[in-house]
């Protein structure tokens, strides 16, 4: 029903519009000073919600790429790592990352938000979502053979040590001091390296410690593809991640700003070009054009543009995305040829595409294209991320494996982790009898 045909509804809408719009805005004047921080906060709150929504995207995508007998386990890992990670980041991670940073190596204040000012609340909320994103990347790579409690222990340690320490190097100093990478002029606008590559390198360490799923590779190295159980879910997860990325990159302005237009346009173009890049390389090599690879290509494009979304012209953003798509496909093949089992392609999508995107942010810096000094700084940042996160995560997962046990037993792999780790299954109508005798 059109509002015009209903006078009461029309009056209500006009009144609501008048109440929502400030008099200054209606008069075409600039907003008065007190409005600006409020608008910034509103935009960051919306952006934080969008980034939080990415968790749903990760859960759907990772679960869809796993077998039905592990669907609950994957979703539970995504759900609970954001819960525990949020608490851990509030208590320790935020202070380590954004607290007073006199040495350039880690923050030393604002643990549990002690001494916080008004702006810290929004900042913590927004940055918690970033930390949760970095942590959850490993879950997909390590799916279908990781013990639940061991994974969560790793997730908390990533949130309190691995992620925030590197974050303090690149983004630290919000309360005084400056991270050593930031002081070199390292560009990583929203975290191609800080969030995604770090998550990717952690995932790589986890995959190495775990080993491949039972029967994923034959003894002579032949691959046995393990299809996900719900590709529609994978595509929906991809779409949700794409939507969330408008908050991830757009919110990284730190406030409501006209630059958000360029940033989110770059984000969108790069994602589209990422999928196109993946399609292109598959078509050129006469390989099947798979939905999973296409979705991963677009996510690779999103990861790639995250570092330079604010400092790149749109045509370079598209180029960054296109190359990201190719990097994702080539990276996946490389890992498979090495006998590594990354269930969702997280190492390629986040680790490698993140590294490329960080390099691209230096190469395609608007107004200072191909500056070798800037490119060198970007390379230092990429290497620092790898040399910190990968060995630290390798050691962490090794210790977890030797103490609490990281890998599920082969019998649990046979029955599925839904039953062995959670005692419930995602699809009880047909799973309970098949997998474990229907025992409760």
């Amino acid at each position: 029903m059109s509002p015009c045909r209903n006078p009461a509804l029309t009056r209500f809408l006009v009144m609501a519009l008048c109440l929502c719009a400030s008099p200054a805005a209606l008069a075409g004047e600039a907003l008065p000073e007190p409005w600006l921080p409020a608008l910034d906060t509103v935009w960051l709150a919306v952006a934080a919600a969008l980034v939080f929504f990415m968790q749903a995207g990760f859960a759907l995508l990772e679960s869809g790429m796993s077998r039905a007998k592990n669907a609950v386990n994957v979703v539970m890992k995504n759900y609970v790592d954001v819960c525990l990670g949020s608490l851990a980041f509030w208590l320790v991670g935020y202070g380590l990352m954004f607290g007073f940073n006199p040495t350039g190596w880690f923050g030393q204040s604002h643990f549990a938000l002690i001494g916080a000012e008004n702006g810290d609340y929004m900042m913590l909320l927004f940055q918690t979502m970033f930390a949760a994103t970095a942590v959850t990347i490993a879950s997909g790579a390590m799916a279908e053979r990781t013990r639940y409690q061991a994974y969560l222990l790793g997730a908390v340690l990533i949130t309190v040590i691995i992620y925030p320490v590197f974050g303090s190097w690149a983004w630290g100093g919000g309360h005084g001091g400056e991270g050593w990478l930031a002081s070199l002029g390292f560009i990583d606008f929203a975290g191609s390296t800080v969030v995604h590559s770090i998550g990717g390198w952690v995932a790589l360490a986890g995959v190495l410690v775990l080993g491949p799923r039972l029967g994923r590779y034959s003894t002579d190295g032949e691959q046995r593809p393990i299809q996900g159980h719900n590709l529609t879910q994978v595509a929906l997860g991809g779409f949700i991640l794409w939507v969330g990325w408008f908050g991830f990159n757009g919110g990284s302005t730190g406030g409501a700003d006209v630059s958000i237009g360029l940033i989110n346009l770059n984000t969108h173009l790069s994602a589209a070009a990422g999928a196109a890049g993946a399609l292109l390389i598959l078509a050129l090599l006469r390989r099947p054009v798979l939905l999973t690879t296409t979705v991963n290509g677009s996510i690779g494009g999103l990861v790639g543009i995250t570092a330079g979304a604010a400092t790149m012209d749109p045509h370079f953003a598209a180029l960054t995305g296109l190359v990201s798509g190719v990097v994702v496909v080539a990276g996946t093949w490389l890992l498979e040829s090495l006998g590594l089992d990354d269930v969702v392609g997280a190492v390629s999508v986040h680790g490698l595409a993140g590294a490329w995107g960080t390099l691209a942010a230096g190469l395609f810096l608007a107004g200072d294209l191909f500056n070798p000094m800037q490119v060198a700084v970007q390379v230092i940042g990429i290497l620092a991320g790898f040399l910190w996160a990968f060995p630290a995560a390798l050691l962490m997962y090794f210790i977890i494996d030797k103490t609490v046990g990281l890998r599920a037993s082969t019998r649990d792999e046979q029955r599925g982790l839904d039953f062995s780790e959670h005692h419930e299954v995602g699809y009880p109508e047909f799973q309970a009898e098949v997998l474990h005798e229907g025992r409760k």
């Binding site: 409690q149 039972l214 046995r224």
Partner: protein, 227 residues
């Protein structure tokens, strides 16, 4: 903690922990199930870190079908571990014999229910026929034989089971527990995974179960009880 004459302190501590675990188990399980659960603890969990108590509980609850009572059992074990020696149940003795005989799981997994043996043979043969159809039956057999030692059977039982897997003996050896049969079927699944990949192995196992369920043996014991 009182060490017996000639007993090292670590032995005394091990004995005290075994008594404590047994005391806790007895509060929630019948004696047979508690003995078999204790055998599992001694064989697989007694040397692991303290966190492994959760895994032990999970295995016991899973195999006794008492997931809903996991919390109760956990509290009982924790309480028993803090009791004075005078309050603990008598030491049931070394459990190696029980574990070595294939009694590795507590409760119903240890005993062999009527019809389980026939059901197992039906599933296993159906699986091997499926594997033969894919040209991997020999590979699966060889891989199963290489892994038989992991079932923890005494040498004589291991030798006769190996002969049966190789196709040299017609009848499945006597005296195997339900847990051993489950373990053997799992070894066949792992071997099929390695030969064909996990997706094909899942299909193979599901097809073998369906085939066994069509046979009369399924009326006495459900083949899926072997999973």
């Amino acid at each position: 903690m009182s060490a017996l004459p000639g007993q090292r302190p670590e032995q005394a501590e091990f004995r005290r922990r075994r008594r404590a675990i047994f005391t806790g188990l007895l509060t929630r399980l019948d004696r047979d199930a508690a003995v078999q659960a204790l055998a599992l603890w001694q064989a697989e969990f007694s040397t692991r870190p303290v966190f492994a108590l959760h895994d032990f509980l999970g295995r016991v609850c899973q195999d006794t079908g008492s997931m809903a009572r996991r919390g109760e059992l956990h509290r009982a074990l924790v309480r028993a571990l803090s009791l004075d020696e005078a309050e603990l149940a008598p030491d049931p003795g070394d459990m190696n014999g029980a574990a070595g005989a294939g009694v590795r799981h507590p409760g119903p997994a240890g005993a062999l229910p009527a019809g389980a043996r026939d059901a197992f043979e039906a599933v296993y043969h159906a699986l091997m026929i499926q594997a033969e159809g894919r040209g991997v039956d020999t590979g699966v057999r060889v891989r199963v034989m290489r892994r038989l030692v992991s079932l923890g059977l005494p040498p004589a039982a291991l030798k006769s089971l190996s002969g049966w897997v190789a196709g040299e003996a017609r009848g499945l050896p006597e005296g195997l527990t339900l847990d051993t049969l489950r373990g053997l079927l799992h070894l066949a699944y792992i071997s099929a995974c390695e030969e064909l990949g996990p997706v094909s192995a899942d299909h193979l196992l599901a097809a073998a179960l369906r085939e066994a369920e069509k046979q009369a043996v399924a009326e006495q014991y459900p083949p899926r009880g072997l999973l």
